[in-house]
């Protein structure tokens, strides 16, 4: 970690051969230093995912895995109504959640970046703190809020707005969307904030000088330039939420069950690993395609706006 002297020659003095040797030593030193972490990720992330993909083409007979190639699991995953419905619902939920988190996060990221002044750090800290607390506990508190005897119901009854507790709040898709939107808020604010911070403020001044009003300025300068942040936020929220397990289980009820609950069942009660693997691979493939499509659509539509 401490050898620091060898590549600090001024570039003018370095001959070509010298530079090549230096580059090589940079290459090997850098690679050597990162290799333990890289190896860890290869062994415990890449290899397992390859194994999952392999399993999705196999079948299971009680406890033994039959390694003959088959597409049967994918047929089940894509055509069985129950899995198709769960997958569709998961996609819709993750789409809604990422849409709402980004829409809600944009103004706050904008506010912090453009009007935060000296307190930017404090604002960002305030926004990230709840995210550091246990995800399970945050879902649990939504259950407390939305439940039959929950905060919202007892509060509304106390105010005389409703006469009896509403059952419409908990155990449905809406509850899942609300909970997930809350849980992923910080993940959307940060990337949008970063991309807004990168915008050269003189560009906005130029737009003012050239006579653009606030709306046009925003649509033609700020929004297109912050698009990378918006896209990052969408992806960072959409892909993990599609596979969420805790929220649908705790607040989703029957109507809010998502694909992760079905995947879990294949590794628990149902004990059909290959089907669980195929469901996972299908989910990832579909959500990646959907995310890619949305990215293209967004790029295209902001180009039109300009």
């Amino acid at each position: 970690m401490t050898e620091a002297a060898d590549e600090t020659l001024p570039p003018a003095r370095a001959t070509r051969g010298h530079r090549k040797a230096l580059l090589q030593s940079e290459q090997s030193k850098g690679f050597a230093l990162i290799s333990p972490t890289f190896a860890y990720a290869l062994v415990l992330l890449v290899a397992p995912i390859i194994v999952v993909v392999a399993h999705s083409f196999w079948t299971q007979d009680y406890l033994t895995i039959d390694r003959t190639f088959t597409l049967e699991n994918y047929r089940i995953a894509l055509t069985e109504p129950i899995y198709r419905d769960l997958l569709m619902r998961s996609l819709v939920i993750s789409l809604l959640v990422s849409f709402f988190t980004v829409i809600l996060a944009y103004p706050i990221a904008f506010y912090i970046s453009f009007h935060g002044g000296r307190h930017k750090g404090i604002w960002l800290f305030l926004i990230t703190v709840p995210f550091w607390t246990s995800y399970l506990l945050r879902v649990m508190s939504w259950k407390v809020i939305l439940g039959y005897n929950g905060v919202l119901n007892s509060g509304l009854m106390g105010l005389g707005i409703i006469d009896e507790p509403s059952t419409a709040l908990l155990y449905n898709t809406t509850a899942v969307v609300i909970t997930l939107t809350h849980a992923w808020a910080a993940f959307a604010v940060l990337p949008i904030f970063v991309s807004l911070e990168k915008i050269d403020r003189t560009l906005i001044e130029a737009a003012i000088d050239l006579g653009d009003g606030p709306v046009r300025r925003f649509l033609r300068v700020v929004l297109p330039l912050s698009l990378p942040g918006v896209i990052a936020a969408l992806l960072i929220v959409m892909i993990p939420t599609v596979g969420d397990y805790v929220t649908p289980k705790l607040v989703g009820g029957k109507d809010g069950v998502m694909i992760a609950n079905a995947i879990q069942a294949q590794f628990g009660k149902a004990s059909n690993w290959p089907l669980g693997a195929a469901l996972s691979v299908t989910t990832m493939a579909v959500v990646t395609t959907m995310a890619g499509g949305i990215v293209l659509l967004l790029r295209w539509s902001t180009r039109l706006m300009r």
């Binding site: 990720a41 992330l45 709840p130 508190s141 005897n149 009003g213 596979g243």
Partner: protein, 270 residues
């Protein structure tokens, strides 16, 4: 329009913060409420739910397990994070971006996918599920957070200070101990605290990889089935919330102080 914005944006920002904090605040409120059902109006102040906590052996076991797993995951992920963050900030090498992307990938993958793939592989390799397998999983998802903290800490690192120390006759080890370490120590401590917090609160990987030993989130999950146990869970949850909050705040304060000292503001997780 501009006026409208500058008037309403702060209001919106305030409401947004309320939306973020409100749900979390109900846990502590109902954890000191005498009624076993979390509803308004509150029925009275009590600390009985907290007093019951130390008398629950299963809970103490879970807390101990969480502590072991958290410490192990924090130390190992920080060591791996140090290697990677140092390599990324100090050297340019082929495949740097791709490797970095791979190491950060668990951050954007659905956790259940990471969990089941680890489960399949570990079982087939003949591991029996235990706290050890949980640690393996937690390291994987802690590394991206460690990396973020450490990279931002190492970026402000002025290499000429190390060179100056070497030129002034300090040995390699002396330079490391007296120059390098003090400069990177805040980032390392931050990374330890942050990864410990992540591990302490992590549920899905523990759920799939834990076997029979429960961590705190697993214990809470088990208790959620019983409505009568809810106040105890709320009390425990409150303690966890406070713990996580303190750890993260300390990590942030340490990181910020160091950043101010090396004149490198911003760029970390917050």
């Amino acid at each position: 329009m501009n006026r409208l914005l500058s008037r309403w944006l702060p209001v919106y920002a305030f409401l947004y913060i309320v939306f973020l904090y409100l749900p979390v605040i109900f846990l502590p409120i109902f954890s000191v409420n005498t009624s076993a059902v979390p509803q308004f109006p509150l029925s009275g102040l009590t600390t009985k739910w907290y007093k019951e906590l130390p008398n629950t052996p299963a809970l103490l076991d879970a807390a101990w397990n969480s502590l072991i797993v958290g410490v192990a995951a924090a130390i190992l992920s920080t060591i791996l994070g140090i290697c990677a963050a140092r390599a990324i900030t100090r050297y340019r090498f082929r495949g740097r971006t791709a490797i970095n992307g791979l190491i950060m990938a668990p951050l954007v993958l659905p956790e259940i996918i990471v969990a089941i793939s680890l489960l399949i592989v570990l079982i087939q390799l003949g591991f029996s599920l235990s706290l050890f397998t949980v640690v393996l999983g937690h390291i994987l998802i802690c590394i991206p957070y460690s990396m973020t903290v450490l990279t931002s800490g190492f970026e402000g690192f002025d290499r000429s200070l190390e060179e100056a120390s070497a030129d002034l006759g300090e040995s390699a080890f002396g330079t490391f101990r007296r120059v390098t370490l003090p400069m990177v120590a805040p980032a390392i401590i931050s990374s330890l605290l942050v990864s410990f917090t992540i591990s302490l609160d992590e549920f899905i990987l523990a759920f799939f990889l834990a076997g029979t030993d429960a961590t705190l989130p697993l214990y809470i999950w088990g208790q959620l089935r019983f409505a009568a146990k809810l106040p105890g869970v709320l009390a425990l949850g409150t303690l966890l919330l406070v713990g996580s909050f303190l750890l993260v705040t300390i990590a942030e304060v340490i990181r910020r102080r160091a950043a101010r000292r090396t004149q490198n503001e911003g760029g970390a997780i917050v």
